[in-house]
Subunit: 341 residues, 2 copies
Amino acid sequence: MTVQQRATLEDVARLADVSSKTVSRVFTHRELVAPETVERVLAAAKRLRFRPNPIARSLRRGGSTDTIGFIMGDLNNPFYYKVAAGMERELASHGFSLVVATTDDTAEGEERVAEALLGQRLGALMIIPVADDQSYLEGERHLGTPVIAIDRPARNLVADSIVLENHRGVFEATTRLLERGHRRIGYVCNPASVYTQSERLRGYRDALAAYGVVDSSRWERLADDLSIPADRFVADLLGQDDAPTALITGNNRVTIGALRVLRDRADDGRTALVGFDDFDTADVLGVTVITYNPLELGRAAAELAIERMKDPAGFTRQLSLPTWIVERGTGERPPSERITA
Amino acid sequence: MTVQQRATLEDVARLADVSSKTVSRVFTHRELVAPETVERVLAAAKRLRFRPNPIARSLRRGGSTDTIGFIMGDLNNPFYYKVAAGMERELASHGFSLVVATTDDTAEGEERVAEALLGQRLGALMIIPVADDQSYLEGERHLGTPVIAIDRPARNLVADSIVLENHRGVFEATTRLLERGHRRIGYVCNPASVYTQSERLRGYRDALAAYGVVDSSRWERLADDLSIPADRFVADLLGQDDAPTALITGNNRVTIGALRVLRDRADDGRTALVGFDDFDTADVLGVTVITYNPLELGRAAAELAIERMKDPAGFTRQLSLPTWIVERGTGERPPSERITA
DNA sequence: GGACGAAATGTCAACGCTGTCTGTCGATGT
DNA sequence: ACATCGACAGACAGCGTTGACATTTCGTCC
């Protein structure tokens, strides 16, 4: 393959017999150029396959603002990629492009990746915070790059944020189980020490407390090691003496793990189950879930970013997106009084 | 929020009392600068929150080659995002960043989006082709931007490509069903008129032909309208007179649709099912699938791109990635002789 | 002691583009 | 006939950085 040189304004100008400035004008303020000149320039440009160099253009204009960064845990996770999808759609419709970077859900990853992304001049940065502290972004924010925290608020950083109504979703789900007569309700999550989970857990505990159940620690399994499959915690919980009659799982991974355990135990519909996060085959499996619209989460975040880019000095905003329950069967099971030791 | 000015080499140089070139050197060829000078410069840079401007840098160096574009159908699809995930990982480990753009699986979308992405100077372009013709990329390729076609070969364009062994996977799956005694084997897919599906369909027909089944059109449902849920085609096929005893579904959407239909019909394990593409809960549901490694597909594509960037003049390569069958139950059912009209 | 070379730093121009300013030319008005 | 003006095109500089080359400094060697 022969590689040919990329044409510049100058080349086009020479071919069209005008100055380079005129060519530039054709590509920016076309109305200031005489029609026949425009035509001549365009013909020359086409012949040379000329395309204005956006690098040079943004250097001249100061900062490339049409690329937006998104730092997330891992593209290989339905939640994250759906958020990214919603975001990409919204951004594309406004002429922005999306650069993605993943942290592998580790705090070190986050700062490293952020550093790399910020190297490029970004119009804005969206991030699903993992680390305990985002103050390292303070400098960049100060330089005018809007930062939008998604799913979890940023810590030690003034930033717009958009989160889910985690507490409310789990509170309602738990209340429904309580209304149906369940008292021994389990809660399993992994990881547990992130904002979303602590909110969800709070929802669970608050609902229980409203029904007089104060110490639920016996039915909680709060893990923090993603290398251990959630299955184990669920199996452990269901195997204990006064096993719960209902189970709430803190995210889709745990829900799927729970399904696996219930199948293996031939539980056969005795244990009620409500999972946080919807997933592809939840309807086929009849699983009741606490859901929300991840595409909308991404879309709204993108919208927030675009708004903030227009008005960098405005007040930061904290939005939260509704969650709701989709009843499909597993969550509507009554408590089964099985024989316990 | 007060927005402060971004520091330049010049600012740092002034503060550190050296020339801007020395500051530049500190950030590029540090070994050429005296240790104490380096220290002084770094201190100044830190104080001013200086970060070299990559725009200016790449303008000077000619072309920004550390951003790779990926054009895919829709991020909101497990297949695409897993490919993207594998890609992102590989690229990140080599210091590249990934810009994603989606076409909504339409040909017009593809060219529009490609045009927009190519506006930025990309190091390489990866694309899952949708349109019938990628010759519009010829110009860019000629200017030295490597183009890698993923999942489907590019048409009318010289490009590296990496695809799956679609034919072989379906051929084997069909053969296994035939070996188990199935003769009426259905094939459902939507869309049908894309490279991957025509390959898969060929695998299905070739396997049947090897067993003497020549005209299988009675059991084929090849649709091309994504707005119609696959459920309908499956239901239609299973409802016909000599309904198939086994079903092969051309992608995960159809597989999940088929599961829904089988559940609704209380089919109860009578119809065998093998689906192309694995999915999250396939193990819970016991679904036999033809699978492959989508992360590896992305990773290999990224590798190919990186290689091609180093050697733009080399011979283009066509790779194909293995597919294999994971038996989980639904594919191992024997033909059930139900009463047919 | 002066020539020499290596190390450290500096000067300058250029990457491709666009904002600002200036210049040209023909048309218009009096 | 001449001043005036609008429409258009060009000259120039500079965005922030770096490669090529120049310069300075200093230790070393005969």
